[in-house]
Amino acid sequence: MRGFGEVAERLRRSTVQVHSRAGRGSGSGVVWSADGLVLTNAHVARGVDLEVEFWDGRQLPARVVMRDARRDLASLRVAAASLDAAAAGNSSSLRPGELVIAVGSPLGFAGAVSTGVIHSVGPIRGMGNRAWIRAQVRLAPGNSGGPLANAEGRVIGINTAIINGLGIAVPSNDAADFVRRGPRPSLGVTLRPVSAGVLILDVDPDGAAAMASLKAGDLLLLALDELYDALDSGQPALRLRFLRGAPSSGRLPVRETVVRLGERAAEAA
């Protein structure tokens, strides 16, 4: 019988460890193409000085190509050829109860395997209306960025988080879309949802929000999920209402700004 062992062995060859050379933690990654493209989580690919370690012990420096913080994806490029690329599955046809297998380096154990089933597929409150995969697999820090595969060994998701003990993965179709078309539009800000809207904690000086003169401390007057929906709607610009200033200084005027979002590559045929 072709069991989990065989599937796991094949998957291990397409799974890498991603280290930050500055020693800021590590995670896992998936070899996406044989010519050196590696996918991982944006929160794993944090430093600039990254190193990728393959199943056979080879270590190569890696460069961050793209990041999508909202979907927590990053693509890395390593100078290598003839790598064992993972086979991507179709994440739009997943059914709860299907067997899944996760490979990664939880807590630094390279090539560790956990198995389980698809729990459910759907949006997570406060994380936009895009679907996430919830899987009944034991994950630990270090699994982040690694593959979640089906019983045929095809990668159907990128393990990203643990919520209430469930593994949360980005669907592979979204990962493929990210590789093909680049990151989805973003404001280039760090946000915190509050009761009145979303508070901007930090602004990336090169981001779309900075170009629209939004600053740290501004309060956007919409819910996080509404903001994400608007960003995903494909509009080239976004009209945002916000408040600026200390709430104690009386009634604040509602301000408005238009954020121009970068054009995204058209869907490849």
């Binding site: 709860p96 067997l99 729990h119 009944q136």
Partner: protein, 292 residues
């Protein structure tokens, strides 16, 4: 790339899909929803501990729509609540009362956001009738080795053949999730639909197990509910209860078991020892007052 593992995976997903049409999400407590299952046409069962209000209960049906549900009644002892819903819905799979340790078990739940959900594990232990800490009796003790995530209590538990073993609850055991067996659900649903509740027999006595000088065992009456069934029948504090309905009794579990087989309102023959002499008293079984 067909292989046996992939075939097994497809089978599991198919089992989930077949039963998914009878699993709902129940909104009857703040913040977290729970799960429920159609047990009969228009009749849902869920875990009683997840029903925290009696009004404004809604359910999310398998087609994603929401419907109002009314609480037909509940039995905290077995952690079963019975809901009626004005929407088409019926059990999708047959129930079985024959689980064995080691059987695969799938727990199905539903949430409003992401639809049906499934977890896989095994039946880790099965035994005969079991009294819960809440005072009810499960026809079987079915312990599950699977993770019941928040919101999955009340959902269907299936075996690998797709038959329903019962519904899941995390509230009856501290160490594991249990499946409330199908036969217990049938019994409670019948009684709730007929009477709106599960009536439990009541004598109105406080008892303490004692051993008599002749090594016979019994229960001494330490307190009496004034105007309670036992008091009305002439039982006195200090009497030692040795048999109930012809069955020797030596602890309170024995009493509960005997009362379950004798309906509320019926007279039961009680053997007591008073002042060293044995005598017989007939008590009309009352109904245990509901905990408020």
């Amino acid at each position: 790339m067909a292989n046996e593992l992939a075939a097994f995976s497809k089978e599991l997903a198919a089992v989930v899909e077949r039963a998914a049409g009878s699993v709902v999400s129940v909104h009857a407590r703040p913040r977290f929803s729970s799960s429920g299952a159609f047990w009969r046409p228009g009749i849902l069962v869920t875990a009683e501990h997840t029903v925290r209000r009696e009004d404004e209960i809604t359910v999310t049906l398998p087609d994603g729509s929401n419907a109002a549900a009314t609480l037909a009644g509940s039995d905290p002892g077995t952690d079963i609540a019975v809901l009626k819903v004005e929407a088409p819905g019926a059990p999708a799979v047959a129930a079985t009362d024959d689980p064995a340790p080691g059987n695969l078990a799938l727990a199905l739940g539903r949430s409003e956001d992401s639809g049906i959900n499934a977890t896989l594990g095994i039946v880790s232990a099965v035994s005969g009738p079991w009294r819960t800490w809440r005072g009810g009796r499960l026809d079987r003790y079915i312990r599950l080795d699977l993770t019941l995530y928040p919101g999955s209590s009340g959902g269907l538990v299936l075996n690998a053949a797709g038959q329903a073993l019962g519904i899941a609850t995390s509230a009856l055991s501290r160490i594991a999730g249990l499946a409330i067996p199908a036969s217990t659900i049938n019994r409670v649903v019948d009684e709730v639909l007929a009477r709106g509740r599960v009536a439990r027999g009541y004598l109105g006595v406080g008892l303490q197990p004692v051993e008599l000088p002749d090594h016979q065992k019994g229960l001494i009456v330490l307190s009496l509910e004034p105007e309670g069934p036992a008091a009305l029948a002439g039982v006195l504090i200090g009497d030692v209860l040795v048999a109930l309905g012809g069955t020797a009794v030596s602890d309170t579990d024995d009493i509960q078991t005997v009362l379950e087989t004798h309906g509320v309102g019926r007279a039961i023959e009680v053997q007591v020892i008073r002042g060293g002499a044995s005598r017989s008293v007939a008590i009309t079984i009352g109904e245990r007052p509901r905990r408020s």
